[in-house]
Structure formats: structure tokens, C-alpha cells
């Protein structure tokens, strides 16, 4: 099978479930990990995966998909996943605020049903996100797409709607700043421990 998604995308555009299944199998892990890195939550990542492909399928059946401009659907899927993350996080914040008003946060949390590895992942990712939040949004997007999700600069430029040179400069500045922030965090952790 070709690495290109163009043919599959044509099938998707006409509402072919087999095309959706193939695109899903091809990109689900990339979307899943992209969303986890943005939310630091594996369970939110699952919801965002479902929301992303659900939106894709609705758009396919509703005639709202346009032909693929790139040979890979991944850049577009990651962009869609980014929007779904924002929606999910907004609704989670509203729910959390409501719960806080309704009942106090318990002192202890029952971790029994959770897998320790996944908790470690989430803790570790939260620390990286804390540093990432101090970067401008444009630099965060560039790092998430190119460095973390291995899109090409051209692919990232296409989905971000900017020139390749702009992506490169955002990457350069973002990398420099993030490296500094992470070194500080590591040093602070060392001091505290």
C-alpha cells in the first residue's frame, strides 16, 4: 500500500467506511500521542481521539471534506485533534469548577485502578507542559508538530498557514527558550530534593 493518503482520502470524501478505517489505523497512534502531549492525560487523549475521528467521519458524510492538499492526512488530523483538545479541556475545566463548588476535593485519591506507568507518564508530561506554557502559542505549535510529532517543516507550515521560514524561526526560538526553561526546572528539582 502506498504511503500517501491521497487515495484513501478520496474514499473518505465519498463516505467510504473502509477508507476511514484505513486512515484511522494509519494515524491513530500519532493522534493519540500528540493529544497526550498536549493534555498530559491518557484518558483525555482517548476522548480526543474519538472526538477527532468522529468529527472527521461526520464531515466526510456531510460532504464537508475538501481534497487533501498534502500527501499525508496526519498534519490535518493533528490540527483537528488540537481543536478537539481545546474543546475537551474547556469542558473539563467547567466540570471541575462545578465539582469543586458542589463538594470539597478529597485529601486522598484512590490510585488503585490506575496503572502506575501511565500516572508516571502524566506527571512527567505535566512538567514539560508547565515549561511549554511559558512559550508563545506559535512556538508551542511548531515544537509539537515538528519536533514531537515528526511532521516536516513544510507540512507544519501548511496546516499552520504560515511560510516555512516562519516555522523554522519559531522552532529555533522555541527550542532555545524551552531548553533554558527545562534546565531551570531540572536544576530547581535538584535543589528541592
Amino acid at each position: 500500500m502506498s504511503d500517501s493518503d491521497v487515495e484513501l482520502w478520496r474514499g473518505l470524501c465519498v463516505g467510504d467506511p473502509a477508507a476511514l478505517t484505513a486512515i484511522y489505523e494509519r494515524h491513530i497512534d500519532a493522534v493519540y500521542n500528540f493529544v497526550f502531549r498536549r493534555t498530559a492525560s491518557w484518558s483525555t487523549a482517548e476522548d480526543a481521539v474519538q472526538a477527532t475521528f468522529g468529527t472527521l467521519w461526520r464531515r466526510a458524510r456531510g460532504g464537508d471534506l475538501t481534497p487533501l492538499r498534502l500527501s499525508s492526512a496526519r498534519p490535518l488530523l493533528l490540527t483537528m485533534a488540537g481543536h478537539e483538545c481545546a474543546n475537551l479541556l474547556r469542558s473539563q475545566r467547567r466540570r471541575s469548577a462545578l465539582l469543586r463548588r458542589l463538594r470539597p476535593t478529597p485529601d486522598t485519591v484512590d490510585h488503585a485502578p490506575l496503572v502506575a506507568e501511565r500516572l508516571d507518564d502524566e506527571r512527567q508530561m505535566s512538567e514539560v507542559r508547565r515549561a511549554m506554557r511559558r512559550l508563545p502559542r506559535s512556538q508551542r505549535d511548531a515544537i509539537e508538530l515538528v519536533v514531537w510529532s515528526q511532521l516536516s517543516v513544510a507540512e507544519a507550515a501548511s496546516v499552520l498557514g504560515v511560510a516555512e521560514g516562519t516555522v523554522k524561526s519559531r522552532l529555533f526560538r522555541g527550542r532555545q527558550r524551552l531548553a533554558g526553561l527545562l534546565r531551570v526546572d531540572v536544576a530547581e528539582e535538584g535543589t528541592q530534593s
Binding site: 474514499g11 472526538a51 531548553a179
Partner: protein, 269 residues
């Protein structure tokens, strides 16, 4: 250092969860978090289901949409002989290309195109397309803006008229194809038929009522049928008869026993 070396390792969704998500996406189920509007796959009305629909008192009151079609054929008026053709004309090559362009494909994407017709509707005509996908096993069906992919079915002498499989949610089809208003009640279906079948006609109303037979000719082995009435023309609760009949290429009526389902009555909402 760009955070990559600080990132947790990549993980894969467990196979069972992957399958669950895919299944729910294909079924149009909402995410348990987002509470999205659930979009269901739309289906044509089969006659038996029309009866079931009455049984649960769930008649859909729907009508044509308000879109203004540029070159679309005009909606027909009530005919003198009480039979009106649903079929208005074939799509031109340019119209076909434009309709498929909205689906992101060109006509040569398909291995065959069987049906390209402008069909009458409650308030405006709509384009209908049936084509075989490149795998030659499945059909692409476009009904107005609604589209579907279904497995091919083959009629036989004992089953000359087959509902296209998968379109099994009858009460939603006409509503989805023609969009929502409160002025019309309507039903519709898409069928694959044998070569011997010439046309299908559908009517709803009282024996002496004003509703015409809507006649739909077969093209390329496929037929779209639909009928509707203005809700305001009948009192709420009135029982109307829903009938359909088919004719072969010799002009003879096809034995009703060979029809897939025989519609019965509908109750005016």
C-alpha cells in the same frame, strides 16, 4: 534540549479500545465526554417500516429546505391525471462534475456511474447519483447533500426490487434528504431493481384525496422514490393510505407479492 528527551515514551491504544473507538465513530456515536450531537446514518423508508412508524406514532413531519438552487429544475405542479413524474431530467456533465467535486472526487474516480437524475421534491428538486466505487463491490449514493456507501445487491426474478442494504432507518431518510420544515410529511427510498422493472409509483392520501401518484422511472437499474403531502391539507389524526406499485417494461403491473414491503397507513401528525 527541546523537551523530547523529557517526554514520556509513546504508547499505543490497547487493541480492544482501538476497536471500540472505531466502532463508535463509524456508528456515529458521540464521545462520552463531549455530548455531541449524534449523527446517525440515514436510511430509506421501506414500506413495512412505514407501518412500524405508525405503530409507534412517530410520524416525521418534515419538509423541503430553503436553499435556492441556481439551475435546478422547477418543482412540478399537481397534474391533471393525478400522476406526476418525480424524475425531472438527467444531470448534465458539468452538474455531475460539480456534485462530485463537493465530495472531493472527479467522475473518473468511479468504475461506473449508474444513475444521475434531478428528482422532484416537496419544495425543490435535488440531484441523485449512484456510482460503483473503485473496488467494484460497493456503491456510492448521493441524495442531495446526503451520501452513503453500501454493498451492491443483485435482484432476482423472485425479488425484482431490493432495498439497498444498510439504509435501514426509514423514517430518517426523507427527512435527511429533503431537510426539515414543518409543512410536509414525506417518505422516500432508494432501490436496486431487475431489468424487467420500468417504474415505481407511490401515493399517500385518501381514496379521493388530492395527492398524486408520484412516478419514478428506473435508470441504470436504480430507482429513487418519494412522496409527500402538505400537513395542513389534512386534520391531525386522520388516517391516510400509503401505497406503492411497480410496472414492468411491458407496462404490466408487477405482482405486489414480489414487492419487498407493502405500505399500509399513516396517521397525520
Amino acid at each position: 534540549m527541546t523537551g523530547t528527551d523529557h517526554l514520556p515514551p509513546e504508547r499505543e491504544l490497547p487493541p480492544r479500545r482501538r476497536d471500540e473507538i472505531l466502532r463508535s465513530v463509524l456508528n456515529g456515536e458521540e464521545s462520552n465526554v463531549m455530548g455531541r450531537q449524534r449523527i446517525r446514518w440515514i436510511t430509506p423508508i421501506a414500506a413495512a417500516a412505514a407501518a412500524a412508524l405508525i405503530a409507534v406514532g412517530a410520524v416525521a413531519l418534515t419538509g423541503g429546505d430553503d436553499r435556492t438552487g441556481g439551475q435546478r429544475p422547477p418543482v412540478s405542479t399537481t397534474p391533471a391525471d393525478n400522476t406526476v413524474s418525480l424524475d425531472l431530467r438527467s444531470l448534465t456533465r458539468a452538474e455531475l462534475r460539480e456534485e462530485l467535486r463537493t465530495a472531493g472526487v472527479e467522475p473518473d474516480y468511479f468504475s461506473a456511474i449508474h444513475y444521475t437524475r434531478w428528482m422532484d421534491g416537496p419544495r425543490q428538486s435535488l440531484p441523485f447519483i449512484v456510482a460503483t466505487l473503485p473496488d467494484r463491490q460497493r456503491l456510492f449514493i448521493k441524495m442531495g447533500d446526503l451520501r452513503s456507501v453500501e454493498d451492491k445487491v443483485t435482484p432476482t426474478p423472485t425479488h425484482p426490487i431490493l432495498r439497498i442494504e444498510g439504509l435501514d432507518r426509514p423514517r430518517y431518510l426523507a427527512k435527511a434528504v429533503y431537510d426539515h420544515t414543518s409543512r410536509y410529511w414525506k417518505v422516500a427510498g432508494f432501490y436496486r431493481v431487475a431489468r424487467t422493472v420500468d417504474r415505481v409509483e407511490v401515493r399517500v392520501g385518501t381514496p379521493d384525496g388530492p395527492e398524486p401518484w408520484r412516478s419514478s422511472p428506473v435508470h441504470g437499474g436504480y430507482v429513487w422514490w418519494a412522496t409527500w403531502f402538505k400537513a395542513a391539507d389534512y386534520e391531525s389524526g386522520a388516517e391516510l393510505t400509503l401505497k406503492w406499485r411497480a410496472y414492468d417494461t411491458d407496462g404490466e403491473r408487477i405482482n405486489p407479492d414480489l414487492m419487498p414491503h407493502q405500505p399500509r397507513t399513516v396517521t397525520v401528525p
